[in-house]
């Protein structure tokens, strides 16, 4: 009956019950054991003391961490309320947006947190909205502009927003339905380009961790200011502008394998979904995850953000294919098994970590 070592003691649920004073019968049984075995009593009691102190200490750590998280969320929510009134996500967002007489602006963009605009000191953005991976948020800014913020993104509102001009800063991806007001230009700042709304609809894409930054225009007209290139570009409807961060060896390796250029740069048409003729760049606003001739690495990155998982791809998985397809309201398992049709691989999912191997 008497356990000799820590391992056996810890594996015994009744011993833990004794430590936590959880079960009358177990407590009595163990007290008896301690009395009857003076030679091992000290060892048992020592472990019991550590179990109790560890439990208490862990409760404090858990509380501290979780309360800090909650505190940050409260802070964010209160700042957001101060400058804009968030609305809950609705399924008919897109229809509502079309009904609105405002111009539409779709942006996916990246900025560094402290950006410098036109030589002035870094603007401080006190109110911001943040989405976690796998989360979307709909908001209405104080000027009536509607925003849908895609996963893993941050939108900051400049102080004095709406007074003389309307400036926001975006790291991630967002859909803007800009309330028309010619006297107060609406500008979205990102790391590689600024997007000025001139009464048009367009789409920009550039996550900080990605090597592609793009802006696509859906309707109307926008003006892009490319920071490094120091030039401006006007977009017409159904055009997009793609910028590429040069990171030697990363995406190029993929191209040499496929023998195809996976990404062009410069002025290009938007991608149209062959099945339902929707525009791929904005499909996320309809809860659709879509790929159009995209390499595996990019598909993986999209899946990570969309489902809030991390995906580890083993080195022996060749990123040979380009993937095209769209999924609405499907689990990540469904998406992965669809991808397996195109090129067989195996995967293992544990918690929020997926490992893809040959």
């Amino acid at each position: 009956m008497l356990h000799q070592n820590d391992e056996e003691l810890l594996a015994d649920e009744s011993f833990i019950n004794y430590c936590l004073e959880r079960n009358e019968a177990d407590m009595h049984a163990w007290m008896q054991i301690v009395r009857d075995n003076p030679e091992t009593a000290a060892r048992i009691e020592e472990l019991r003391t550590l179990v109790i102190l560890a439990g208490k200490g862990l409760q404090n750590i858990e509380l501290k961490n979780q309360m800090a998280k909650l505190g940050r969320r409260i802070e964010l929510a209160e700042e957001a309320v101060a400058s804009a009134k968030p609305v809950s996500i609705t399924r008919s967002v897109n229809r509502k947006l079309i009904a609105a007489a405002a111009c539409f602006l779709l942006i996916a963009a990246t900025t560094t947190y402290y950006f410098v605009r036109s030589g002035k000191s870094p603007a401080s953005y006190r109110s911001s909205y943040i989405t976690q991976p796998a989360e979307k948020k709909s908001l209405v800014l104080s000027d009536g502009t509607k925003v849908i913020l895609n996963a893993d993104s941050k939108l900051s509102i400049a102080p004095g927003f709406g007074q003389e001009e309307r400036r926001v800063q975006l790291d991630g991806e967002a859909f803007f339905d800009v309330a028309h007001n010619a006297s107060k230009p609406f500008v979205v700042h990102t790391a590689r380009m600024d997007v000025k709304v001139l009464g048009t609809a367009f789409n920009v894409k550039a996550y900080a961790t990605d090597d592609l930054f793009e802006t696509a225009l859906i309707r109307g007209s926008v003006e892009l200011s490319l920071k490094k290139e120091k030039k401006t570009v006007m977009l017409r409807p159904n055009e997009k502008y793609v910028l590429r961060e040069i990171r030697p060896g990363v995406a190029l390796a993929e191209e040499s394998i496929t023998g195809r250029k996976t990404h062009s740069e410069g002025l290009l048409p938007v991608k149209i979904d062959k099945v339902d003729t929707s525009i791929v760049e904005v499909s996320w606003t309809e809860n659709k995850i879509a790929f159009a001739d995209e390499p595996f690495a990019q598909v993986v990155k999209k899946l990570e953000r969309w489902y809030g998982v991390s995906i580890i791809v083993d080195d022996d998985v060749l990123p040979g294919n380009l993937y095209t397809g769209s999924f609405r309201n499907e689990s990540i398992e469904d998406v992965l098994s669809a991808l397996q049709f195109s090129r067989p691989f195996t995967y293992k999912k544990e918690n929020d970590v997926i490992r893809i191997s040959k």
């Binding site: 820590d6 391992e7 810890l10 594996a11 649920e13 833990i16 019950n17 430590c19 936590l20 004073e21 959880r22 007290m31 301690v34 009395r35 009593a41 000290a42 009691e45 020592e46 472990l47 003391t49 550590l50 179990v51 109790i52 102190l53 560890a54 439990g55 208490k56 200490g57 862990l58 409760q59 404090n60 750590i61 858990e62 509380l63 979780q66 309360m67 998280k69 909650l70 969320r73 409260i74 929510a77 809950s88 544990e350 918690n351 929020d352």
Partner: protein
């Protein structure tokens, strides 16, 4: 759970005076209990933690409109129960009558309250400081598993399912973490404290 009186008092302070301290006191009071319920129901650690914070964020945002709640304990429990099953988006009106099955099933949880009979205060604090310093270095998942075992008192099978791990992995994690804790604390520090304590413990048991 501890007794209900301070909870009702905290609740009133929170909804009437919008007291942040009272609000966090409620959080401290309910965190372990709600964790226990959620994990016992088979939800993952991540979902349980997020739901608790979703529920409390909602409470803070709606604090001005919660004055009509007369049974905060039942309200919180029902609210949490629903949120974790149906996802967030709480209905504006929640019944305060607690589901009987829920009451019966989870009424048993009591937060450990052993401090008074564990060593003398000074030795306890010295040892606790040593233990805590070590705990802070544990990786997140190990810490969560240890918490679920040594504070919530969940079974190995329940912890395994909450963390999507095998029972064996949980055993090994708990044992390895405890071994490290033991070896990181000078044996003499523990032994001298324990011997005294063990004697007292036996006398009074």
């Amino acid at each position: 759970m501890r007794n209900d009186v301070p909870i009702n008092y905290c609740w009133q302070d929170f909804v009437r005076n919008e007291s942040r301290d009272a609000y966090y006191e409620l959080y401290r009071h309910y965190y372990a209990y709600l964790s226990y319920i959620g994990l016992k129901k088979g939800f993952s650690t991540e979902v349980v933690k997020d739901t608790i914070n979703d529920v409390f964020l909602y409470l803070w945002e709606k604090r001005r409109s919660l004055q009509h709640i007369h049974h905060p304990h039942n309200y919180l429990l029902t609210f949490f129960h629903r949120s974790i099953i149906n996802g967030m988006r709480p209905a504006s009106v929640l019944p305060e009558d607690i589901n009987e099955a829920l009451q019966g099933e989870y009424g048993a949880f009591a937060e450990p309250s052993f401090e008074q009979n564990l060593l003398d205060k000074e030795s306890r604090e010295r040892l606790a400081a040593l233990v805590n310093r070590h705990l802070n270095y544990l990786p997140r998942q190990q810490r969560e598993i240890m918490y679920q075992k040594f504070y919530l008192g969940l079974s190995y099978a329940e912890i395994a399912s909450a963390n999507r791990l095998s029972v064996n992995t949980v055993y090994n994690t708990v044992y390895a973490a405890m071994q490290k804790l033991r070896t990181s604390i000078p044996a003499s520090a523990v032994a001298s404290l324990i011997s005294l304590f063990a004697i007292l413990h036996l006398f009074f048991s």
